[in-house]
Amino acid sequence: MPLSKGNVLVPSRKRGASTSLNPRRKLKVPYLFIFLCMLPWILGFILFTAYPVAASFYESFTKFNLVESPKWIGLENFHRMFFDDPDFWKAIKNTLWISVISIPLRIAFATFTAWILTKPTRGMKFYRTLFFLPAMVPTVAATLSFTYIFNPAYGTINSILESIGIKNPPFWFMDPHWSKWGLILLGLWGIGDTMIIYLAGLLDVPKSLYEAASLEGANSWQEFRYVTMPLITPVIFFSAVTGIIGSFQYFTQAYVASGQVRDYSHSMYFYATHIYTEAFRAYEMGYASALAWVLLVITLLCTLVMLSTQKRWVHYPNGSLFK
Protein backbone atom coordinates (compact mmCIF):
# COMPACT_ATOMS: atom_id res chain seq x y z
CA MET A 1 0.00 0.00 0.00
CA PRO A 2 1.97 3.01 -1.20
CA LEU A 3 -0.81 5.31 -0.01
CA SER A 4 -0.79 4.28 3.58
CA LYS A 5 2.36 6.14 4.51
CA GLY A 6 0.74 9.50 3.97
CA ASN A 7 -2.33 8.39 5.87
CA VAL A 8 -0.66 7.13 9.02
CA LEU A 9 -1.02 9.66 11.76
CA VAL A 10 2.01 9.78 13.95
CA PRO A 11 2.41 12.52 16.52
CA SER A 12 5.56 14.47 15.80
CA ARG A 13 8.29 13.47 18.22
CA LYS A 14 10.26 16.68 17.96
CA ARG A 15 7.78 18.63 20.02
CA GLY A 16 7.45 16.01 22.68
CA ALA A 17 3.89 15.30 21.68
CA SER A 18 3.47 12.32 23.94
CA THR A 19 2.99 14.62 26.90
CA SER A 20 0.48 16.84 25.14
CA LEU A 21 -3.13 16.76 26.27
CA ASN A 22 -4.49 17.32 22.79
CA PRO A 23 -2.67 15.07 20.33
CA ARG A 24 -4.95 16.06 17.47
CA ARG A 25 -3.32 19.46 17.13
CA LYS A 26 -0.04 17.90 16.19
CA LEU A 27 -1.52 15.57 13.59
CA LYS A 28 -1.29 16.09 9.85
CA VAL A 29 -4.64 16.26 8.08
CA PRO A 30 -4.81 13.23 5.76
CA TYR A 31 -6.28 15.02 2.77
CA LEU A 32 -5.80 12.11 0.37
CA PHE A 33 -7.69 9.78 2.69
CA ILE A 34 -10.45 12.36 3.10
CA PHE A 35 -10.70 12.83 -0.65
CA LEU A 36 -10.91 9.08 -1.30
CA CYS A 37 -13.59 8.68 1.36
CA MET A 38 -15.65 11.55 -0.02
CA LEU A 39 -15.22 10.38 -3.62
CA PRO A 40 -18.46 8.35 -3.94
CA TRP A 41 -20.41 11.29 -2.59
CA ILE A 42 -18.57 13.82 -4.79
CA LEU A 43 -19.24 11.78 -7.95
CA GLY A 44 -22.83 11.15 -6.95
CA PHE A 45 -23.31 14.82 -6.17
CA ILE A 46 -22.02 15.89 -9.58
CA LEU A 47 -23.85 13.20 -11.56
CA PHE A 48 -27.16 13.03 -9.74
CA THR A 49 -27.54 16.47 -8.15
CA ALA A 50 -25.38 19.34 -9.41
CA TYR A 51 -25.51 18.60 -13.13
CA PRO A 52 -29.23 17.62 -13.12
CA VAL A 53 -30.21 20.76 -11.20
CA ALA A 54 -28.34 22.96 -13.69
CA ALA A 55 -29.65 20.99 -16.67
CA SER A 56 -33.27 21.13 -15.53
CA PHE A 57 -32.89 24.88 -14.92
CA TYR A 58 -31.70 25.28 -18.51
CA GLU A 59 -34.35 22.90 -19.87
CA SER A 60 -37.10 24.85 -18.13
CA PHE A 61 -36.53 27.59 -20.74
CA THR A 62 -36.68 25.14 -23.64
CA LYS A 63 -38.99 22.93 -25.61
CA PHE A 64 -37.61 19.43 -25.17
CA ASN A 65 -39.18 16.11 -26.09
CA LEU A 66 -36.26 13.75 -25.41
CA VAL A 67 -35.76 12.92 -29.10
CA GLU A 68 -34.67 16.30 -30.45
CA SER A 69 -32.25 18.47 -28.53
CA PRO A 70 -33.77 21.23 -26.34
CA LYS A 71 -34.91 24.37 -28.20
CA TRP A 72 -34.69 27.72 -26.38
CA ILE A 73 -38.10 29.36 -26.00
CA GLY A 74 -37.40 31.81 -23.19
CA LEU A 75 -40.12 32.24 -20.60
CA GLU A 76 -42.83 30.58 -22.68
CA ASN A 77 -43.10 27.53 -20.38
CA PHE A 78 -43.78 29.75 -17.39
CA HIS A 79 -46.28 31.82 -19.31
CA ARG A 80 -48.07 28.65 -20.39
CA MET A 81 -48.17 27.37 -16.83
CA PHE A 82 -49.94 30.42 -15.41
CA PHE A 83 -52.13 31.47 -18.33
CA ASP A 84 -52.62 28.51 -20.60
CA ASP A 85 -52.77 25.30 -18.56
CA PRO A 86 -55.98 24.52 -16.66
CA ASP A 87 -54.43 21.24 -15.40
CA PHE A 88 -51.75 23.26 -13.61
CA TRP A 89 -54.37 25.18 -11.64
CA LYS A 90 -56.32 22.00 -10.96
CA ALA A 91 -53.17 20.40 -9.57
CA ILE A 92 -52.36 23.46 -7.47
CA LYS A 93 -55.91 23.57 -6.12
CA ASN A 94 -55.92 19.87 -5.19
CA THR A 95 -52.48 20.12 -3.60
CA LEU A 96 -53.38 23.17 -1.52
CA TRP A 97 -56.67 21.56 -0.48
CA ILE A 98 -55.01 18.42 0.78
CA SER A 99 -52.20 20.35 2.55
CA VAL A 100 -54.59 22.63 4.37
CA ILE A 101 -56.76 19.75 5.58
CA SER A 102 -54.24 17.01 6.14
CA ILE A 103 -51.29 18.81 7.74
CA PRO A 104 -53.21 20.09 10.81
CA LEU A 105 -55.03 16.75 11.07
CA ARG A 106 -51.76 14.86 10.98
CA ILE A 107 -50.19 17.12 13.59
CA ALA A 108 -53.18 16.77 15.89
CA PHE A 109 -53.41 13.00 15.45
CA ALA A 110 -49.67 12.45 15.88
CA THR A 111 -49.65 14.61 19.02
CA PHE A 112 -52.62 12.77 20.44
CA THR A 113 -51.36 9.23 19.76
CA ALA A 114 -47.89 10.11 21.04
CA TRP A 115 -49.31 11.84 24.11
CA ILE A 116 -51.47 8.87 25.06
CA LEU A 117 -48.40 6.66 24.72
CA THR A 118 -46.51 8.72 27.29
CA LYS A 119 -49.01 7.84 30.03
CA PRO A 120 -47.44 5.22 32.26
CA THR A 121 -49.51 2.15 31.42
CA ARG A 122 -48.89 -1.51 31.25
CA GLY A 123 -48.25 -2.76 27.72
CA MET A 124 -47.12 0.66 26.50
CA LYS A 125 -44.49 -0.97 24.24
CA PHE A 126 -47.12 -3.25 22.77
CA TYR A 127 -49.42 -0.35 21.93
CA ARG A 128 -46.53 1.62 20.49
CA THR A 129 -45.74 -1.28 18.17
CA LEU A 130 -49.34 -1.55 17.01
CA PHE A 131 -49.60 2.20 16.34
CA PHE A 132 -46.36 2.19 14.43
CA LEU A 133 -46.97 -0.93 12.35
CA PRO A 134 -49.10 0.63 9.55
CA ALA A 135 -46.27 3.06 8.77
CA MET A 136 -44.22 0.03 7.73
CA VAL A 137 -46.69 -1.20 5.14
CA PRO A 138 -45.36 -0.52 1.61
CA THR A 139 -47.17 2.49 0.12
CA VAL A 140 -48.46 0.55 -2.87
CA ALA A 141 -49.82 -2.28 -0.71
CA ALA A 142 -51.45 0.20 1.69
CA THR A 143 -53.06 2.17 -1.12
CA LEU A 144 -54.38 -0.94 -2.89
CA SER A 145 -55.76 -2.22 0.39
CA PHE A 146 -57.49 1.07 1.14
CA THR A 147 -59.08 1.34 -2.30
CA TYR A 148 -60.46 -2.16 -1.76
CA ILE A 149 -61.59 -1.74 1.86
CA PHE A 150 -63.22 1.60 1.06
CA ASN A 151 -64.82 0.29 -2.13
CA PRO A 152 -68.58 0.97 -1.80
CA ALA A 153 -69.59 -2.35 -3.36
CA TYR A 154 -66.95 -4.79 -2.05
CA GLY A 155 -65.41 -3.06 0.91
CA THR A 156 -66.10 -3.61 4.55
CA ILE A 157 -65.86 -0.01 5.75
CA ASN A 158 -69.17 1.05 4.25
CA SER A 159 -70.97 -2.02 5.55
CA ILE A 160 -69.70 -1.14 9.03
CA LEU A 161 -70.82 2.48 8.57
CA GLU A 162 -74.26 1.30 7.44
CA SER A 163 -74.59 -1.08 10.36
CA ILE A 164 -73.94 1.74 12.84
CA GLY A 165 -76.76 3.73 11.23
CA ILE A 166 -75.08 5.93 8.62
CA LYS A 167 -77.61 5.78 5.79
CA ASN A 168 -75.66 6.79 2.71
CA PRO A 169 -71.97 6.37 3.38
CA PRO A 170 -69.67 8.15 0.91
CA PHE A 171 -68.27 6.31 -2.08
CA TRP A 172 -64.72 7.36 -1.01
CA PHE A 173 -62.22 6.81 -3.79
CA MET A 174 -65.03 6.36 -6.33
CA ASP A 175 -66.47 9.80 -5.63
CA PRO A 176 -64.47 12.87 -6.71
CA HIS A 177 -65.78 14.78 -3.67
CA TRP A 178 -64.61 12.12 -1.25
CA SER A 179 -61.52 10.63 -2.85
CA LYS A 180 -59.17 13.09 -1.13
CA TRP A 181 -60.67 12.13 2.22
CA GLY A 182 -59.76 8.54 1.42
CA LEU A 183 -56.18 9.64 0.82
CA ILE A 184 -56.18 11.67 4.05
CA LEU A 185 -57.36 8.63 6.03
CA LEU A 186 -54.68 6.55 4.34
CA GLY A 187 -52.11 9.11 5.47
CA LEU A 188 -53.44 9.21 9.03
CA TRP A 189 -53.33 5.43 9.20
CA GLY A 190 -49.60 5.53 8.47
CA ILE A 191 -48.93 8.26 11.05
CA GLY A 192 -46.46 5.98 12.93
CA ASP A 193 -43.15 7.54 11.91
CA THR A 194 -44.37 11.08 12.62
CA MET A 195 -45.77 9.83 15.92
CA ILE A 196 -42.39 8.43 16.97
CA ILE A 197 -40.82 11.86 16.49
CA TYR A 198 -43.53 13.44 18.62
CA LEU A 199 -43.10 10.71 21.21
CA ALA A 200 -39.39 11.47 21.46
CA GLY A 201 -40.26 15.16 21.82
CA LEU A 202 -42.80 14.49 24.56
CA LEU A 203 -40.49 12.20 26.50
CA ASP A 204 -37.89 15.00 26.44
CA VAL A 205 -40.16 17.29 28.48
CA PRO A 206 -38.62 17.42 31.98
CA LYS A 207 -40.72 15.61 34.64
CA SER A 208 -40.09 18.46 37.08
CA LEU A 209 -42.23 20.77 34.95
CA TYR A 210 -45.21 18.45 35.25
CA GLU A 211 -44.65 18.15 38.99
CA ALA A 212 -44.53 21.92 39.28
CA ALA A 213 -47.73 22.21 37.25
CA SER A 214 -49.57 19.68 39.39
CA LEU A 215 -48.42 21.45 42.58
CA GLU A 216 -49.91 24.62 41.14
CA GLY A 217 -53.15 22.69 40.71
CA ALA A 218 -53.20 22.46 36.90
CA ASN A 219 -55.69 20.02 35.42
CA SER A 220 -54.82 17.66 32.57
CA TRP A 221 -55.81 20.11 29.86
CA GLN A 222 -53.93 23.03 31.41
CA GLU A 223 -50.92 20.80 31.85
CA PHE A 224 -51.07 19.85 28.19
CA ARG A 225 -51.74 23.38 26.99
CA TYR A 226 -49.16 25.24 29.08
CA VAL A 227 -46.42 22.67 29.66
CA THR A 228 -46.47 20.08 26.90
CA MET A 229 -47.55 22.20 23.93
CA PRO A 230 -44.91 24.95 24.20
CA LEU A 231 -42.18 22.37 24.59
CA ILE A 232 -43.10 20.39 21.52
CA THR A 233 -43.49 23.41 19.22
CA PRO A 234 -40.11 22.61 17.60
CA VAL A 235 -41.49 19.20 16.58
CA ILE A 236 -44.73 20.75 15.34
CA PHE A 237 -42.75 23.32 13.41
CA PHE A 238 -40.57 20.64 11.85
CA SER A 239 -43.53 18.53 10.79
CA ALA A 240 -45.42 21.53 9.41
CA VAL A 241 -42.46 22.47 7.20
CA THR A 242 -41.85 18.91 6.00
CA GLY A 243 -45.61 18.47 5.57
CA ILE A 244 -45.92 21.40 3.16
CA ILE A 245 -42.83 20.33 1.23
CA GLY A 246 -44.11 16.75 1.20
CA SER A 247 -47.55 17.61 -0.13
CA PHE A 248 -46.03 19.19 -3.24
CA GLN A 249 -44.24 15.90 -3.83
CA TYR A 250 -47.21 13.72 -2.92
CA PHE A 251 -47.38 11.17 -5.69
CA THR A 252 -47.43 7.41 -5.15
CA GLN A 253 -50.68 7.11 -3.16
CA ALA A 254 -52.57 9.41 -5.50
CA TYR A 255 -51.16 7.75 -8.61
CA VAL A 256 -51.95 4.21 -7.46
CA ALA A 257 -55.40 5.09 -6.12
CA SER A 258 -56.46 7.00 -9.23
CA GLY A 259 -55.22 4.10 -11.37
CA GLN A 260 -57.38 1.70 -9.39
CA VAL A 261 -60.61 3.67 -9.62
CA ARG A 262 -60.01 5.41 -12.98
CA ASP A 263 -60.25 8.92 -11.62
CA TYR A 264 -61.60 10.64 -14.74
CA SER A 265 -62.45 13.88 -12.99
CA HIS A 266 -58.84 14.28 -11.81
CA SER A 267 -59.85 14.67 -8.18
CA MET A 268 -56.56 13.00 -7.19
CA TYR A 269 -54.42 14.97 -9.62
CA PHE A 270 -51.73 16.68 -7.56
CA TYR A 271 -48.74 18.84 -8.38
CA ALA A 272 -46.27 15.94 -8.58
CA THR A 273 -48.76 14.01 -10.73
CA HIS A 274 -48.82 16.94 -13.13
CA ILE A 275 -45.01 16.97 -13.42
CA TYR A 276 -44.98 13.22 -14.04
CA THR A 277 -47.77 13.41 -16.61
CA GLU A 278 -46.21 16.28 -18.55
CA ALA A 279 -42.77 14.65 -18.53
CA PHE A 280 -43.51 10.99 -19.17
CA ARG A 281 -46.96 10.94 -20.76
CA ALA A 282 -46.82 14.05 -22.94
CA TYR A 283 -42.99 14.04 -23.22
CA GLU A 284 -43.00 17.77 -22.52
CA MET A 285 -39.67 17.56 -20.72
CA GLY A 286 -38.98 21.28 -20.95
CA TYR A 287 -42.36 22.23 -19.55
CA ALA A 288 -42.07 19.58 -16.82
CA SER A 289 -38.67 21.02 -15.84
CA ALA A 290 -40.28 24.43 -15.52
CA LEU A 291 -42.96 22.90 -13.30
CA ALA A 292 -40.26 21.24 -11.19
CA TRP A 293 -38.47 24.55 -10.76
CA VAL A 294 -41.68 26.23 -9.66
CA LEU A 295 -41.99 23.38 -7.14
CA LEU A 296 -38.48 24.12 -5.89
CA VAL A 297 -39.27 27.84 -5.54
CA ILE A 298 -42.52 27.05 -3.68
CA THR A 299 -40.60 24.70 -1.38
CA LEU A 300 -37.98 27.34 -0.64
CA LEU A 301 -40.59 30.05 -0.09
CA CYS A 302 -42.59 27.90 2.32
CA THR A 303 -39.47 27.05 4.27
CA LEU A 304 -38.43 30.72 4.41
CA VAL A 305 -41.87 31.89 5.53
CA MET A 306 -41.95 29.25 8.24
CA LEU A 307 -38.41 30.04 9.37
CA SER A 308 -39.13 33.75 9.56
CA THR A 309 -42.32 33.32 11.57
CA GLN A 310 -40.96 30.71 13.94
CA LYS A 311 -39.69 33.24 16.49
CA ARG A 312 -43.28 34.05 17.36
CA TRP A 313 -44.37 30.57 18.34
CA VAL A 314 -41.53 28.05 18.44
CA HIS A 315 -39.77 27.60 21.78
CA TYR A 316 -36.37 26.00 21.65
CA PRO A 317 -35.33 24.82 25.09
CA ASN A 318 -31.68 24.92 24.07
CA GLY A 319 -32.10 28.19 22.24
CA SER A 320 -31.37 26.96 18.72
CA LEU A 321 -32.52 24.71 15.95
CA PHE A 322 -29.25 22.81 15.69
CA LYS A 323 -28.03 21.40 18.96
Partner: protein, 297 residues
Protein backbone atom coordinates in the same frame (compact mmCIF):
# COMPACT_ATOMS: atom_id res chain seq x y z
CA UNK B 1 -44.69 5.89 50.99
CA UNK B 2 -42.81 7.88 53.57
CA UNK B 3 -46.01 9.69 54.37
CA UNK B 4 -47.69 6.43 55.27
CA UNK B 5 -44.83 5.40 57.51
CA UNK B 6 -44.54 8.63 59.44
CA UNK B 7 -48.25 9.11 59.88
CA UNK B 8 -49.91 6.01 61.34
CA UNK B 9 -53.20 7.88 61.76
CA UNK B 10 -53.61 7.38 57.99
CA UNK B 11 -54.70 3.83 58.74
CA UNK B 12 -57.03 4.62 61.59
CA UNK B 13 -58.53 7.96 60.64
CA UNK B 14 -61.81 7.17 58.77
CA UNK B 15 -61.51 10.42 56.78
CA UNK B 16 -58.07 9.44 55.51
CA UNK B 17 -59.28 5.95 54.71
CA UNK B 18 -62.07 7.41 52.62
CA UNK B 19 -59.69 9.74 50.82
CA UNK B 20 -57.39 6.83 50.15
CA UNK B 21 -60.20 4.74 48.75
CA UNK B 22 -61.27 7.66 46.57
CA UNK B 23 -57.73 8.03 45.28
CA UNK B 24 -57.52 4.34 44.37
CA UNK B 25 -60.91 4.57 42.68
CA UNK B 26 -59.77 7.61 40.72
CA UNK B 27 -56.60 5.87 39.63
CA UNK B 28 -58.61 2.84 38.61
CA UNK B 29 -60.94 4.97 36.49
CA UNK B 30 -57.95 6.73 34.99
CA UNK B 31 -56.37 3.41 34.02
CA UNK B 32 -59.63 2.18 32.52
CA UNK B 33 -60.05 5.39 30.51
CA UNK B 34 -56.46 5.20 29.34
CA UNK B 35 -56.71 1.62 28.23
CA UNK B 36 -60.01 2.13 26.47
CA UNK B 37 -58.51 4.94 24.37
CA UNK B 38 -55.42 2.82 23.68
CA UNK B 39 -57.50 -0.21 22.72
CA UNK B 40 -59.82 1.83 20.49
CA UNK B 41 -56.83 3.30 18.68
CA UNK B 42 -55.24 -0.14 18.36
CA UNK B 43 -58.41 -1.49 16.78
CA UNK B 44 -58.51 1.42 14.32
CA UNK B 45 -54.86 0.89 13.38
CA UNK B 46 -55.23 -2.87 13.03
CA UNK B 47 -58.62 -3.02 11.31
CA UNK B 48 -57.38 -2.37 7.75
CA UNK B 49 -54.70 -5.05 8.16
CA UNK B 50 -57.29 -7.44 9.51
CA UNK B 51 -59.58 -6.82 6.51
CA UNK B 52 -56.71 -7.31 4.09
CA UNK B 53 -55.64 -10.61 5.62
CA UNK B 54 -59.18 -11.92 6.04
CA UNK B 55 -60.09 -11.00 2.44
CA UNK B 56 -56.96 -12.76 1.25
CA UNK B 57 -58.38 -16.00 2.66
CA UNK B 58 -61.85 -15.69 1.08
CA UNK B 59 -63.40 -17.12 -2.04
CA UNK B 60 -63.96 -14.68 -4.88
CA UNK B 61 -67.70 -14.52 -4.26
CA UNK B 62 -67.16 -13.74 -0.58
CA UNK B 63 -64.52 -11.12 -1.28
CA UNK B 64 -66.87 -9.27 -3.57
CA UNK B 65 -69.79 -9.39 -1.15
CA UNK B 66 -68.54 -7.33 1.79
CA UNK B 67 -67.87 -10.40 3.94
CA UNK B 68 -65.82 -9.89 7.11
CA UNK B 69 -64.78 -13.40 8.10
CA UNK B 70 -63.60 -15.99 5.55
CA UNK B 71 -65.85 -19.03 5.24
CA UNK B 72 -64.34 -21.39 4.23
CA UNK B 73 -60.67 -20.44 4.64
CA UNK B 74 -59.11 -20.59 1.18
CA UNK B 75 -55.44 -20.95 2.07
CA UNK B 76 -54.94 -21.96 -1.51
CA UNK B 77 -55.14 -18.27 -2.52
CA UNK B 78 -51.57 -17.92 -1.38
CA UNK B 79 -50.57 -20.63 -3.84
CA UNK B 80 -52.75 -19.39 -6.68
CA UNK B 81 -51.30 -15.91 -6.45
CA UNK B 82 -48.03 -17.26 -7.81
CA UNK B 83 -49.77 -18.56 -10.91
CA UNK B 84 -52.33 -15.77 -11.31
CA UNK B 85 -49.55 -13.19 -11.55
CA UNK B 86 -45.76 -13.62 -12.04
CA UNK B 87 -45.37 -13.08 -8.33
CA UNK B 88 -42.13 -15.01 -7.85
CA UNK B 89 -40.39 -13.08 -10.60
CA UNK B 90 -41.50 -9.75 -9.12
CA UNK B 91 -40.31 -10.81 -5.68
CA UNK B 92 -36.89 -11.84 -6.95
CA UNK B 93 -36.50 -8.57 -8.87
CA UNK B 94 -37.46 -6.57 -5.79
CA UNK B 95 -35.06 -8.57 -3.62
CA UNK B 96 -32.23 -8.04 -6.08
CA UNK B 97 -32.77 -4.28 -6.23
CA UNK B 98 -33.17 -3.97 -2.46
CA UNK B 99 -30.18 -6.14 -1.55
CA UNK B 100 -27.74 -4.52 -3.99
CA UNK B 101 -29.09 -1.07 -3.18
CA UNK B 102 -28.52 -1.67 0.51
CA UNK B 103 -24.96 -2.91 0.03
CA UNK B 104 -24.21 0.06 -2.20
CA UNK B 105 -25.65 2.60 0.22
CA UNK B 106 -23.79 1.25 3.24
CA UNK B 107 -20.45 0.83 1.50
CA UNK B 108 -20.55 4.28 -0.08
CA UNK B 109 -22.02 6.22 2.86
CA UNK B 110 -19.87 5.04 5.78
CA UNK B 111 -16.56 6.61 4.57
CA UNK B 112 -17.98 10.10 3.88
CA UNK B 113 -19.84 10.05 7.19
CA UNK B 114 -16.62 9.05 8.95
CA UNK B 115 -14.50 11.88 7.58
CA UNK B 116 -17.32 14.36 8.15
CA UNK B 117 -17.77 13.33 11.76
CA UNK B 118 -14.30 12.49 13.01
CA UNK B 119 -11.65 14.38 11.07
CA UNK B 120 -11.11 18.11 10.95
CA UNK B 121 -10.44 19.55 7.56
CA UNK B 122 -11.01 22.72 5.59
CA UNK B 123 -14.44 22.79 3.93
CA UNK B 124 -15.95 20.18 6.20
CA UNK B 125 -18.72 22.44 7.48
CA UNK B 126 -19.54 23.66 3.98
CA UNK B 127 -19.67 20.10 2.63
CA UNK B 128 -22.04 19.10 5.40
CA UNK B 129 -24.34 22.02 4.62
CA UNK B 130 -24.37 20.99 0.95
CA UNK B 131 -25.31 17.45 1.98
CA UNK B 132 -28.17 18.74 4.13
CA UNK B 133 -29.34 20.93 1.24
CA UNK B 134 -29.42 17.96 -1.15
CA UNK B 135 -31.62 16.15 1.35
CA UNK B 136 -34.14 18.98 1.05
CA UNK B 137 -34.01 19.08 -2.75
CA UNK B 138 -37.25 17.72 -4.27
CA UNK B 139 -36.58 14.67 -6.43
CA UNK B 140 -38.70 16.14 -9.22
CA UNK B 141 -36.06 18.81 -9.92
CA UNK B 142 -33.36 16.29 -10.85
CA UNK B 143 -35.72 13.63 -12.23
CA UNK B 144 -35.71 14.62 -15.91
CA UNK B 145 -31.95 15.16 -16.52
CA UNK B 146 -31.17 11.94 -14.61
CA UNK B 147 -33.71 10.15 -16.79
CA UNK B 148 -31.99 11.59 -19.88
CA UNK B 149 -28.59 10.36 -18.63
CA UNK B 150 -29.89 6.84 -18.13
CA UNK B 151 -31.73 6.79 -21.43
CA UNK B 152 -28.53 7.92 -23.23
CA UNK B 153 -26.74 5.00 -21.58
CA UNK B 154 -29.54 2.71 -22.87
CA UNK B 155 -30.30 1.68 -19.31
CA UNK B 156 -34.07 2.12 -19.73
CA UNK B 157 -35.77 -0.27 -19.20
CA UNK B 158 -33.38 -2.09 -16.88
CA UNK B 159 -32.76 -2.44 -13.16
CA UNK B 160 -29.46 -0.50 -13.31
CA UNK B 161 -31.01 2.94 -12.66
CA UNK B 162 -32.49 1.54 -9.45
CA UNK B 163 -29.23 -0.01 -8.21
CA UNK B 164 -26.25 1.97 -9.48
CA UNK B 165 -27.07 5.36 -7.87
CA UNK B 166 -27.02 3.67 -4.45
CA UNK B 167 -23.27 3.15 -4.86
CA UNK B 168 -22.77 6.92 -4.98
CA UNK B 169 -23.88 7.36 -1.35
CA UNK B 170 -27.11 8.85 -0.09
CA UNK B 171 -27.28 12.16 1.72
CA UNK B 172 -29.77 10.80 4.22
CA UNK B 173 -27.54 7.85 5.17
CA UNK B 174 -24.46 10.06 5.48
CA UNK B 175 -26.45 12.34 7.77
CA UNK B 176 -27.71 9.52 9.99
CA UNK B 177 -24.26 7.90 10.26
CA UNK B 178 -22.54 11.21 10.90
CA UNK B 179 -24.87 11.94 13.80
CA UNK B 180 -23.93 8.62 15.34
CA UNK B 181 -20.19 8.78 14.61
CA UNK B 182 -20.04 12.21 16.26
CA UNK B 183 -21.32 10.71 19.50
CA UNK B 184 -18.38 8.26 19.79
CA UNK B 185 -15.81 9.76 22.21
CA UNK B 186 -12.74 11.33 20.52
CA UNK B 187 -10.41 9.69 23.03
CA UNK B 188 -10.92 6.32 21.33
CA UNK B 189 -9.57 7.58 18.01
CA UNK B 190 -6.80 9.57 19.66
CA UNK B 191 -5.58 6.54 21.55
CA UNK B 192 -5.57 4.44 18.39
CA UNK B 193 -3.73 7.14 16.44
CA UNK B 194 -1.03 7.49 19.07
CA UNK B 195 -0.49 3.75 18.78
CA UNK B 196 0.15 4.27 15.08
CA UNK B 197 -3.17 3.05 13.73
CA UNK B 198 -3.92 4.22 10.18
CA UNK B 199 -7.17 6.09 9.49
CA UNK B 200 -8.37 3.24 7.28
CA UNK B 201 -7.83 0.68 10.01
CA UNK B 202 -9.30 2.99 12.63
CA UNK B 203 -12.46 3.30 10.56
CA UNK B 204 -12.84 -0.40 9.77
CA UNK B 205 -11.60 -1.98 12.99
CA UNK B 206 -12.78 0.48 15.65
CA UNK B 207 -15.47 2.88 14.44
CA UNK B 208 -17.51 0.51 12.27
CA UNK B 209 -17.89 -2.14 15.02
CA UNK B 210 -18.89 0.60 17.49
CA UNK B 211 -21.40 2.05 15.04
CA UNK B 212 -23.24 -1.20 14.35
CA UNK B 213 -26.63 0.17 15.52
CA UNK B 214 -26.41 3.16 13.18
CA UNK B 215 -25.15 1.05 10.28
CA UNK B 216 -27.98 -1.42 10.76
CA UNK B 217 -30.43 1.48 10.81
CA UNK B 218 -29.03 2.77 7.51
CA UNK B 219 -29.11 -0.72 5.99
CA UNK B 220 -32.68 -1.18 7.21
CA UNK B 221 -33.90 2.17 5.88
CA UNK B 222 -32.30 1.67 2.52
CA UNK B 223 -33.62 -1.87 2.19
CA UNK B 224 -37.13 -0.70 3.04
CA UNK B 225 -36.72 2.33 0.78
CA UNK B 226 -35.97 0.09 -2.22
CA UNK B 227 -38.57 -2.49 -1.27
CA UNK B 228 -41.28 0.18 -1.05
CA UNK B 229 -40.08 2.38 -3.91
CA UNK B 230 -42.64 3.07 -6.58
CA UNK B 231 -41.73 6.26 -8.43
CA UNK B 232 -38.22 5.03 -9.39
CA UNK B 233 -39.43 1.77 -10.93
CA UNK B 234 -42.33 3.64 -12.55
CA UNK B 235 -39.82 5.69 -14.56
CA UNK B 236 -37.28 3.01 -15.37
CA UNK B 237 -38.78 -0.47 -15.67
CA UNK B 238 -42.42 -0.19 -16.72
CA UNK B 239 -41.70 -1.02 -20.37
CA UNK B 240 -40.29 -4.46 -19.57
CA UNK B 241 -42.68 -6.64 -17.52
CA UNK B 242 -39.91 -9.21 -17.00
CA UNK B 243 -38.09 -6.89 -14.61
CA UNK B 244 -41.12 -5.51 -12.77
CA UNK B 245 -40.82 -5.15 -9.02
CA UNK B 246 -43.61 -5.99 -6.58
CA UNK B 247 -44.81 -2.40 -6.27
CA UNK B 248 -45.06 -1.88 -10.02
CA UNK B 249 -46.49 -5.35 -10.56
CA UNK B 250 -49.27 -4.93 -8.04
CA UNK B 251 -50.16 -1.39 -9.05
CA UNK B 252 -50.12 -1.84 -12.82
CA UNK B 253 -51.19 -5.44 -13.34
CA UNK B 254 -54.78 -4.54 -12.62
CA UNK B 255 -54.75 -2.02 -15.44
CA UNK B 256 -53.98 -4.77 -17.96
CA UNK B 257 -55.70 -7.83 -16.54
CA UNK B 258 -58.59 -8.30 -14.17
CA UNK B 259 -57.44 -9.60 -10.82
CA UNK B 260 -59.84 -10.89 -8.20
CA UNK B 261 -59.82 -8.84 -5.00
CA UNK B 262 -59.02 -11.85 -2.81
CA UNK B 263 -55.92 -12.56 -4.93
CA UNK B 264 -55.00 -8.90 -4.82
CA UNK B 265 -55.19 -8.89 -1.03
CA UNK B 266 -53.18 -12.13 -0.82
CA UNK B 267 -50.52 -10.53 -3.00
CA UNK B 268 -50.57 -7.37 -0.85
CA UNK B 269 -50.20 -9.46 2.30
CA UNK B 270 -47.20 -11.26 0.86
CA UNK B 271 -45.76 -7.90 -0.23
CA UNK B 272 -45.99 -6.40 3.27
CA UNK B 273 -45.09 -9.56 5.18
CA UNK B 274 -41.27 -9.36 4.86
CA UNK B 275 -41.31 -5.72 5.90
CA UNK B 276 -43.43 -6.45 8.94
CA UNK B 277 -41.23 -9.39 9.96
CA UNK B 278 -38.13 -7.21 9.58
CA UNK B 279 -39.82 -4.57 11.69
CA UNK B 280 -40.55 -6.98 14.53
CA UNK B 281 -37.00 -8.30 14.46
CA UNK B 282 -35.40 -4.89 14.47
CA UNK B 283 -37.89 -2.59 16.15
CA UNK B 284 -35.34 -0.98 18.42
CA UNK B 285 -32.89 -0.14 15.66
CA UNK B 286 -35.74 1.23 13.64
CA UNK B 287 -37.26 3.52 16.21
CA UNK B 288 -33.86 4.82 17.27
CA UNK B 289 -33.10 5.60 13.65
CA UNK B 290 -36.31 7.57 13.19
CA UNK B 291 -35.71 9.46 16.41
CA UNK B 292 -32.08 10.22 15.56
CA UNK B 293 -32.84 11.85 12.24
CA UNK B 294 -36.48 12.85 12.36
CA UNK B 295 -37.22 11.13 9.05
CA UNK B 296 -38.08 7.70 7.78
CA UNK B 297 -36.19 6.31 4.80
Amino acid sequence: MSLLLTDPSKYTDPEAKKRRRQRIWREFLYTVANHSVLITLSVIFMLPLFFVVSTSLMTYSQASARAIWPHPFVWNNYVSVFTAVPFLKWTLNTLLVSALGTIGTVVSSVPPAYVLARLRWKGRGATFVVILATMMLPGQVTMIPVYVIFSKMHWIPSLYPLIVPAFFSSAFSIFLLRQFFTSIPDEISDAARIDGCSEMKLLLKIIVPLAKPAISAVALFSFLGSWNDFSGPLLYIVDNPDIWTLGIGLALFRGVHTVQPNMMMAASTLFMLPVIIIFFLSQKVFIEGVTLTGVKG
